[in-house]
């Protein structure tokens, strides 16, 4: 499995901050450096935000990649619009991207709005020529789970196999935007599609990884992804120039821009009981509940790995709460194009994934069940002897994780400083947090 979250070994101090923050327990400190267990990483970027030494990085494509193409199109994520103070016209951002050197721009928010329109018709919430018609929507699979966040989709494939059939079958908005942008550019320029470079401006590492290794697609539809934070420095001056010209107009309304924040995707599904969850630990808790059949009333589940949705991605510049406010301010002045689209047009049908999403368990102790049971038995026995302090001094996030690593053969019992100390006899110094009260 390939990830764009990587380690700058020079900067890593071998502290245990990231291993405790990782929601899938995918990091261990080995030989003084944080190492990622590839099968467990979902590219959520939490470690990038957590690292006090900025040693964790999400590596995106270099801007020079654009030079390999005759014509380039930028696909700004809706969350990009929340990064600028006093922005009242999205056209300035789009114009700035053109000033920066892109030949064209296609808003991901526009594709997102098309997905929303399609969902409304598919669920029977709205009809062409009528708009919302007040019907009680009945999705075929309940609850339907959003696939807009690739980190969450990966989490489901890893830990919640029963919920894979609940994932919406359509491709993600950014993928729909890429297909449309390439087709539009090919038509406009007459160039063959492979001479056109289509690049996503991404708020997070998960979408960077998905740009090159899309989930459930046999071929990538993007040519690459640029980090929002990296591009920001160049985009600001370009936007100043674009503001003078004032000649680029946004193609999207409030519904599409709303996808930048948690509950934006589900907000348009009126009459439907929807739930929007942000941050991986919360996502895990709710997926557990859904798996156990505890939430029968929910029709649609929106999931976002990051705080407050995509605005919380680790490649954004602004605080997620501030960007959320800005997105909401922008939405106040945008037209409800979703409604007009439904009134006059038939929303298109977005393509579906061409590969099934497979269960890729990362926590099975052994492929052979009796071997797994034997390992579990040894793991439980060892866990009983570990101090249970979850101090992470061994390089694993918890005593439990160390026990698991030991039976898998990735670590040794002696990695626990307390077991080692005990084996050397009593009397050694014990720091205050680890002293027992009776002693």
């Amino acid at each position: 499995m390939t990830h764009c979250v990587t380690l700058d070994k020079e900067k890593c101090k071998g502290c245990t901050t990231c291993i405790r923050q990782c929601p899938t327990e995918a990091i261990r400190v080995r030989r003084g450096k944080a190492t990622i267990i590839s099968e467990r990483c979902i590219d959520c970027g939490r470690c990038v935000l957590a690292c006090p030494h900025h040693a964790k990085r999400a590596v995106c494509d270099p801007l020079t990649l654009m030079e390999q193409f005759r014509y380039t199109v930028a696909l700004p994520a809706p969350s990009l619009y929340g990064q600028f103070r006093n922005l009242d016209d999205i056209g300035v951002v789009l114009g700035g991207l053109l000033e920066m050197g892109f030949d064209g721009v296609y808003e991901v928010a526009r594709a997102a709005e098309e997905m929303s329109a399609h969902a409304l018709v598919k669920f029977g919430i709205a009809r062409k020529g009528v708009g919302y018609d007040g019907a009680e929507p009945v999705p075929a699979v309940r609850p339907l789970i959003s696939t807009a966040c690739p980190a969450c989709v990966r989490l489901i494939c890893m830990r919640f196999p029963r919920l894979i059939p609940h994932l919406a079958p359509e491709i993600a908005p950014v993928e729909l935007a890429a297909l449309a942008a390439r087709a539009e550019a090919a038509k406009k320029t007459g160039l063959p599609p492979d001479k056109i470079g289509v690049f996503f401006i991404t708020p997070c590492p998960a979408k960077m990884t998905a740009a090159h290794f899309p989930l459930g697609l046999s071929e990538p539809v993007l040519d690459g992804a640029f980090s929002m934070a990296e591009l920001y420095v160049k985009l600001l001056p370009a936007m100043k120039k674009a503001a003078m010209k004032d000649n680029v107009f946004p193609s999207v309304g409030l519904a599409g821009v709303g996808w930048a924040v948690s509950s934006g995707e589900s907000a348009v599904l009126r009459n439907m009981k929807t739930i929007a969850i942000d941050e991986i630990p919360n996502v895990i808790a709710v997926l557990e509940d859904i798996e156990d059949g505890k939430l029968p009333e929910v029709g649609f589940v929106e999931l976002n790995a990051c705080t407050q949705g995509c605005v919380g991605g680790c490649l954004t510049v602004e605080n997620p709460y501030v960007s959320k406010m800005r997105i909401q301010e922008l939405m106040k002045n945008l037209p409800d194009t979703l409604l007009s689209r439904l009134r006059y047009d038939d929303p298109g049908t977005p393509p579906t994934r061409d590969l099934p999403l497979a269960y890729e368990p990362a926590d099975v102790l052994d492929g052979d069940m009796s071997a797994a049971m034997e390992k579990r038995f040894r793991m439980d026995a060892l866990l009983g002897r570990l101090p249970g302090l979850d101090c992470a001094s061994c390089g694993a996030p918890s005593c439990r994780a160390l026990a698991e690593d030991v039976v898998r053969g990735y670590a040794q019992e002696a990695d626990c400083v307390f077991l080692t100390r005990d084996s050397m006899g009593e009397g050694g110094y014990l720091p205050p947090p680890f002293r027992h009260s009776q002693k």
Binding site: P161, R162, V364, D368, S370, E374
Partner: protein, 143 residues
Amino acid sequence: MSAPEHIIREQYTVDGDDFQAAGGASSAMKKLLRSLGVPPDAIRRAAICMYEGEINMVIHANGGEAEVTFDGGVITMTLRDTGPGIPDPELALREGWSTATDAIRDLGFGAGMGMPNMKRNADEMTINSVINQGTVIVMTIRV
């Protein structure tokens, strides 16, 4: 696959009157079974049985003990409580039949679906109940 030498056993305490903690045993059991490579469908059925059992113990019996064992072929869940007992187990298995109080119903529980749900998802289910002494429910799921 060679015959497993060990029976895996885990025990959980279900706190009474704590709806927030209910589901803890089910969640821990799911993790255990997943780590052993038990097929997802068997895990789902076991989790539903365990969760409904936990909720019942919280609502009716002021909590209790839950135990899960796995021998490589069968998941066995044993739920023990020292609550009021079930006067008529046949009746308790009927959909919609419930002795939950209005306060419990206000919380969204007590619809009389718990026991039938357990029965439906388990391959076998036995109820041993003595009035004013307690209840032992054993559910098995073949993997």
